[in-house]
Symmetry: C2
Subunit: 492 residues, 2 copies
């Protein structure tokens, strides 16, 4: 894209450009109101050569905007904590809320080019990452985001000239870093790498825009045109539904819930002996995954009163408490609701070497949100693939992903509800909502069958745990966690 890039210049007088900039800026200010009304989040990624003028451009862009509704983020190099998360984690953190702008000063392009140039990733890792970036951008777009990607292009001579000028003055020399100088030295190699990545992420849904950045005013006008146009387009296309994709993830053959036997028994004695043994084993494994920096993500779903809480407790009491987190997931808070529905789960991903346990999960999208109408049909139908993609990214990052469906039958639920109702210390566990959900058992069962069938992948399988007998269920869950971690450790 850079190689064959031909400089497009406006054939305009300075006065004309000034006037056009003024007009376009006014339009952008009006659009700020429009995006607020439409709850459109606008994510603007500004990449480009060192000294191409990214900062100045952003300064010019936001001049008239209401600062309560935009944010400018200058990405720094990933710190130690960020390095222990998936590559895209810190970008996901920064996505705008509905109705707001985020301008990102350098981002996943810059970081990836640097990693290639410094030999931090090989070709295989690069291809994986490019796929992740495409998925990330497409998911944002499908979930109502406008993502605008700009690359500020300047010729090599111009870049050298600018950097030299910055270096001359001690008030500006601190702005030039080693990477900028490296870019000048190895411009051709950089150009090749940039081009490869630009091309690989130049998709129909989120294309790159190359901006001629030699002249500051022209660049500004070009970007104002691009941005206002793309916002208009996004608003116009607001009601066009995104395609429902079914990527070809190898799915495991799973039974329907009705086919799952629930007759396994286990005595308290047997349970206690077994539990002790397994907890000891798990404790050792926890140490190993900590040292090998393997992240583990355990997702719990199941019927109300199926015994998720008790099950989780038996798991965690074997673990070093400094190495795990349990996240009870309830309805999203406003700042969560204002973002991509997977955001709050990304946000809670563990550091590598740590374990995150989710008590209810992102599968809410295809259960409660589907059945209660908290999202559209298109939303939940798209979600199976989006979730498979999310979990694939987690596996690619090196994570062990384990998903439990804790299964009981309707009679067992009734018995447990009744017991909770009649036991003062347990009454807090039962709410009217539980009873209401129970009435929708059949609808939920159908949705769950569909969910399990469509999202049980090789890298992130569902495990249906029979839990009419809670002892049996706990043992099964711990055993599964041990198995899956061992598989990972043994490279299976």
């Amino acid at each position: 894209m850079l190689k064959n890039y031909e400089i497009r210049k406006y054939q305009m007088e300075p006065e004309e450009i000034k006037e056009s900039v003024r007009e376009k800026r006014e339009e952008l200010v009006r659009q700020q109101q429009v995006i607020k009304e439409h709850k459109l989040p606008v994510f603007v990624l500004i990449e480009g050569w060192g000294a191409a003028g990214k900062g100045t451009l952003i300064g010019n862009l936001i001049k008239e905007l209401d600062p309560r509704f935009f944010q400018v983020v200058k990405m720094q190099k990933a710190n130690e904590d960020e390095k222990r998360k998936p590559f895209l984690w810190r970008y996901m953190e920064k996505i705008p809320e509905a109705g707001k702008f985020v301008f990102l000063d350098s981002g996943w392009l810059d970081e990836t080019v640097d990693d290639v140039m410094h030999d931090k990733i090989d070709d295989v890792a690069l291809e994986k990452r490019l796929r992740q970036i495409r998925t990330f951008e497409r998911q944002l777009k499908d979930n109502g985001y406008l993502v605008v990607k700009l690359f500020l292009q300047i010729p090599p001579k111009e870049q050298k000239h600018r950097l030299d000028k910055l270096l001359e003055n001690k008030d500006t020399s601190w702005r030039v870093d080693e990477d900028d100088i490296l870019q000048v030295k190895k411009r051709e190699k950089f150009e090749k790498v940039y081009d490869r990545i630009l091309e690989a992420t130049n998709t129909g849904y989120v294309p790159w825009n190359i901006v001629d950045a030699v002249d500051e005013k022209q660049a500004l006008l070009q970007v104002l045109h691009l941005l206002t146009n793309q916002i208009n387009q996004a608003v116009e296309n607001f009601k066009i539904l995104p395609e429902i994709l079914h990527k070809d993830y190898p799915l495991l053959k799973m039974p329907k819930l009705a086919e799952v036997p629930l007759d396994q028994e286990m005595s308290k004695e047997e349970y206690e002996i077994e539990l002790k043994k397994l907890q000891k084993k798990l404790k050792k494994l926890h140490n190993k995954i900590y040292r090998k920096r393997i992240p583990v993500i355990i997702a719990y779903e199941g019927w109300d009163a199926a015994g998720k809480g008790g099950n989780i407790k038996r798991l965690t009491s074997a673990l070093d408490p400094r190495g795990f987190e349990v996240y009870p997931i309830a309805a999203p808070e406003p700042h969560e609701k204002a973002r991509h529905y997977l955001w709050r789960f990304y946000h809670r991903l563990p550091k590598d070497g740590h374990i995150a346990i989710f008590d209810r999960t992102w599968y809410g999208r295809v259960m409660v949100e589907r059945l209660e109408g908290f999202c559209t049909e298109n939303d939940w139908k798209r979600a199976y693939n989006e979730i498979n993609e999310f979990e694939k990214d987690l596996s690619d990052w090196g994570a062990v992903v384990i998903k439990f469906w804790i299964q009981i039958d309707k009679d067992t639920q009734l018995a447990r509800f009744t017991e909770r109702q009649n036991t003062p210390e347990k009454q807090w566990k039962i709410t009217d909502e539980d009873w209401r959900n129970r009435e929708k058992w059949d609808d939920y069962e159908a949705a769950i069958d569909e969910m399990i069938a469509k999202t049980s992948t090789e890298n992130a399988p569902w495990f249906i745990i029979q839990s009419n007998n809670k002892y049996y269920a706990r043992i099964q869950a711990i055993r599964t966690v041990i198995d899956e971690i061992e598989k990972k450790l043994n490279g299976r």
Copy 2:
């Protein structure tokens, strides 16, 4: 405290200890329910010598607890971003939500001792920090937190023995770090520093508890006793109101709002010339504070329709967008409401060298929360001092703190409300709530007068900006920001 510490041992048989531990653990499990009901947050800080068994103790403590309602945090050394925040920032980040436990594995004691031992802070800085720690703990306590501080004590020989043993085995040697070894080498010096800090932070409201950690089981029992007792006490004392303090901060003499003249005029022409000049100046200053790593915090309060938004916009359009953030503050979200009311402002503090602008602020406590009854009388009466303390900490950190009250009269507000109502593009700016608040003008005015009188300190003064003429107000605000930054840069 360590020097004169006498080892207290339970005169109990191992079987008795085991039985007592079992009982106390059960009590703790029951208390988990109690703290949930009382919305009591419990913050347990576990400090002690290296290899004293902090991790093991925590593991033993949480064994039977429901993992959805506690969190264990192992504090790491501050990363680069954290170093650019106030010292206590990252601890404030970790305070528990109402009804939950947080167990902190090392914290502000450990970090302070390390900083002293590595000569990172001098005596003056240490005294400042100790004062901050006491304030932090007292504020938590006054705001309904139970803070339990434990120090795990082992004799020097025991420590050396344990570290040697850990170092022998490659599966455990990675757990020993340089600081542990340093502690053994310089035990006496460490002991002195520990003692000084322990004593300085051993307050009546949040005392230290020295735990004999030679025997793991005895230590566990001792801590279970302490913890369950302190929870019982906290619950029993739940309704006892904290004292209302008025620390002796030098207050500036401020006028009442009714005395503030509002007759200043400024023409559009004069405004535009002046604005350009001041924005240019501010731009340069922004560069300087960035390079000198001075944090700037600008707080905007004012009547509805006083012109806060427009005022902020003129300020920010002079700034490098990568160096500031604007935070519109609305009603707290659930996770914010579940914590100390200053938490969400701490959370949004800028990195040093950056500017944070708050559109409405922590002063909500003594305005809307006071008048609408969202907090108790004791809460808002305490808040004047708590806020003065908060702002003093910010100044001590090196921040410039500027607080604006944007003042208009009632007629001007009415005129602006009416205009908003009648202008389609502006209707989103006016809500029924604005009209309701207007009816309470007099109550608000009295509250604001009290607030300004009690919180205009030398280090964080209020500036009342006349805003019947918006041009005049904007110029005044920018001028004030420039003045205050220059004062700081000139060391005045």
